[in-house]
Subunit: 463 residues, 2 copies
């Protein structure tokens, strides 16, 4: 088995530092494996304990008879090298070190020792100083923060890797709340061995991952990162949020990680060259990720707007043009056919304004027409649910349209509880929804950019 694969899909796991103390990280990680959805074998390692959650406890990993695919180390930093050495002797291919106390606090020498041991035994390491891995499909879950404070997202197509554990914990919790779905989550901390490029390379091959997202402040090896991302970006979208876009941000980085982040201009140029999509903030990152993980590639940049509120149609028109896209012009036949089915006051231009007494039937007609029209590449579907005649069955209408066509549909809807419930059912079905016209238009732009990128890539390949 590929060693990196052992991190996500191990058959057996040893938790070094598993503890009786329920507050200890080692306890929580061990309990996650035992009580969660992980199907493999789990072995606690702790010389001071005989049994843990009904399982025999081992003094060290070499005493376990069975083969171990993955070890998680959660003990004080000073003891980590010895534990890692034992993992090497036991021929464990993959080790996650969640413990902190290394380079990030000036203990460079201690971290170097880990590196040497890993090299000697051919161990792949994630960490140290990280949250580790969450993979809902295999039940690997090392997240040690209190569960009532940090929910887990459902299984889906977005993979997220992050240098910062704090950013990672927020992202998981947030995705869960919003109903965004995850494939693989990795907080890789100091990256003594496995780095962002290694992880991206692995995720590029992973069938469940539709989009690769990353937060980091710097890359470990520029050349390697460029080569890897260049290979991937035409096939699978990569979205990066880079911390340290200003001198002030870079200063903040150097005081919290002890490393230099490098000039943002250099990064931006490199990202562009590698076909990597850049997000300006977390909100953009997830808007893009949801779009790219669920919607098909559009054939062009012509957007048809359908709305039941004039004002929102105006705002979306503005935002579409600001993002370099164009408003579609539907064929004459399409509008003529629609005209017969709609009241006279319904505006059949772009935007199509179904007006405040719109019902589901009107939406269905307009959607079907726009999906069938060859002059339309994408649809901006504004659904303001506050109007009296529009019922919850709009969800069914939208999901039907979504199933019937490859054309990307961007649903924009905002409001209170009632609206949120219907939006969440769309998200559950895999349809991204937006609260603001600007965010939807940005996501349209990025989907179009990726589809151009992918087409270029395929052309190059055919040559």
């Amino acid at each position: 088995m590929n060693k990196i694969n052992c991190f996500f899909n191990p058959k057996s796991v040893a938790v070094i530092g598993a503890s009786r103390d329920q507050k200890k990280i080692g306890h929580i990680v061990f309990r996650n494996f035992v009580e969660g959805r992980f199907k493999g074998k789990v072995f606690p390692v702790n010389p001071k304990t005989k049994k843990l959650l009904g399982r025999k406890c081992y003094t060290n990993v070499t005493q376990i008879k069975e083969k171990i695919d993955l070890a998680v180390i959660s003990i004080p930093a000073e003891f980590a090298p010895k534990a890692l050495e034992e993992c090497g002797k036991k021929r464990i291919p993959a080790v996650v070190i969640v413990s902190g106390g290394f380079k990030e606090v000036g203990e460079d020498e201690l971290e170097d020792r880990l590196k040497k041991i890993a090299k000697r035994y051919g161990i792949r390491i994630i960490g140290p100083n990280c949250l580790g891995i969450f993979d809902p499909s295999t039940g690997v879950d090392m997240i040690f923060l209190p569960r009532y404070k940090l929910e887990r997202p459902k299984e889906g197509g977005i993979s997220f890797i992050t240098q910062s554990g704090a950013v990672g914990s927020v992202v998981l919790d947030w995705m869960a709340r919003k109903g965004y779905k995850i494939s693989k989550f990795v907080s890789y901390g100091n990256a003594v061995d496995v780095d962002e490029a290694d992880l991206m390379e692995h995720l590029a091959e992973d069938k469940k991952t539709k989009v690769i997202c990353a937060y980091f402040e710097g890359v470990r090896e520029g050349r390697k990162f460029l080569n890897v991302t260049k290979k991937i970006s035409g096939v699978k979208p990569i979205i990066i949020l880079k911390g340290g876009t200003t001198e002030a941000g870079n200063k903040a980085i150097s005081s919290h990680t002890g490393s230099l982040a490098g000039s943002f201009e250099v990064y931006t140029a490199a990202f562009k060259q590698a076909g990597v999509l850049q997000a300006d903030d977390m909100e953009e990152l997830f808007g893009f990720a949801r779009t790219l993980s669920t919607l098909s590639r559009p054939k062009g940049n012509r957007v048809q707007i359908i709305t039941d509120g004039g004002g929102f149609g105006v705002l979306l028109s503005d935002n579409i043009v600001e993002n370099g896209l164009t408003l579609a012009k539907m064929k004459k036949e399409t509008t003529e056919r629609l005209r017969k089915k709609m009241p006279s006051y319904v505006v059949l231009k772009n935007p199509i304004d179904l007006t405040g007494d719109a019902d589901v039937e009107r939406y269905r007609e307009a959607l079907d027409a726009a999906l069938a029209d060859p002059n339309v590449d994408m649809i901006g579907l504004i659904v303001l649910l506050q109007v009296p005649r529009l019922g919850g069955d709009i969800v069914q209408t939208i999901t039907n349209a979504f199933k019937s066509s490859e054309k990307p549909i961007f649903v924009i809807s905002a409001g209170g509880e009632y609206t949120e419930v219907l939006k969440k059912s769309l998200e559950d079905f895999g349809i991204p929804t937006f609260s603001y016209t600007q965010n939807a238009a940005k996501a349209m732009r990025v989907l179009y950019e990726f589809s151009e990128e992918a087409e270029e890539y395929e052309k190059r390949k055919r040559r």
Copy 2:
């Protein structure tokens, strides 16, 4: 009584078109007045009905003996002029016409008749083609959309006026869900008489309104609008989201309102000259509004960041600089004093990184220090609640700090249910919270801009 005041604070209201049919707008508006928090008298007007919700129904307003401060007209457009004429005879000073079917559908002549009647009798009109008014302090509530679909926000300092009814309905529903608090809401539709400038002039004098927000696609009288906003903007912040910033948006406007919106460049220049703050989208608008309605004016643009997650500190540092603000440098004595109270690994620069084992006590010390330090004008307080040792009592710590000092505190916190509950309790207390560092930094910029504007204004006044 000032006639415009009658719209918001009438002692007696007539609802023309009040109906037995529960689906009719006239029924809903009448019921809102009768069953809601409105304390004045309410009279139904409908020639076909004798009694409505236990009250005597009148054939027309002239038959009501008592004085009427406000009439709401909700009958087919063609009958509106006659009803308005009767309001004139009855000397009703203020009339809201919610009915549509005028200029927006090409019935310019019908709308002109309303104008003439209003002029003849000295009636002030809001509408036609609008949602009308919502004022939680007096219980005036004309919102006729189904209540389960459209919640009502609580009473507070944000006033919102809008040309578009659809935008208005979304905004109300949304504010309710997010816990944002409203002073006065007006959807003024076609603005046959009372326009955005009149409303702003009124809101400027209204003590309950701390911030005036507006969505519109064009102003009726440019010169008047400029004069009014210039007078207000140094005293009370005005935030505008303008639809139609592009040619495409302007085309959309002309097909849904039948009017020309004018060049965006002209508007932007005029807004700037008048000291009006512009928002790029709804999200910005409300970020700004909450900030300006609750936080005091900062003395300068120096921001101290306090965080428990390094990555978020980096992102906020970037965003602060991108928005033209600077990172504060606390006094040496402050950091020395803090140093004694904090573990060695806590970073006491800007950002102050309390790290992932931060507790409430550490936040309290850092907050108190930053609030007391003369080199700090504003505080960016990042609170990632996922960390194990940080409890719900952080809410009390933040509200105490908020009460103890005039320095604006911007709380940034993101995550799932647990986080949202704590954020909502801060919002209820009047402390704006943000999910994204970028939004918080933009709000800081706008608060600083307004404080500069206000200072300029005061200087001019003293001269």
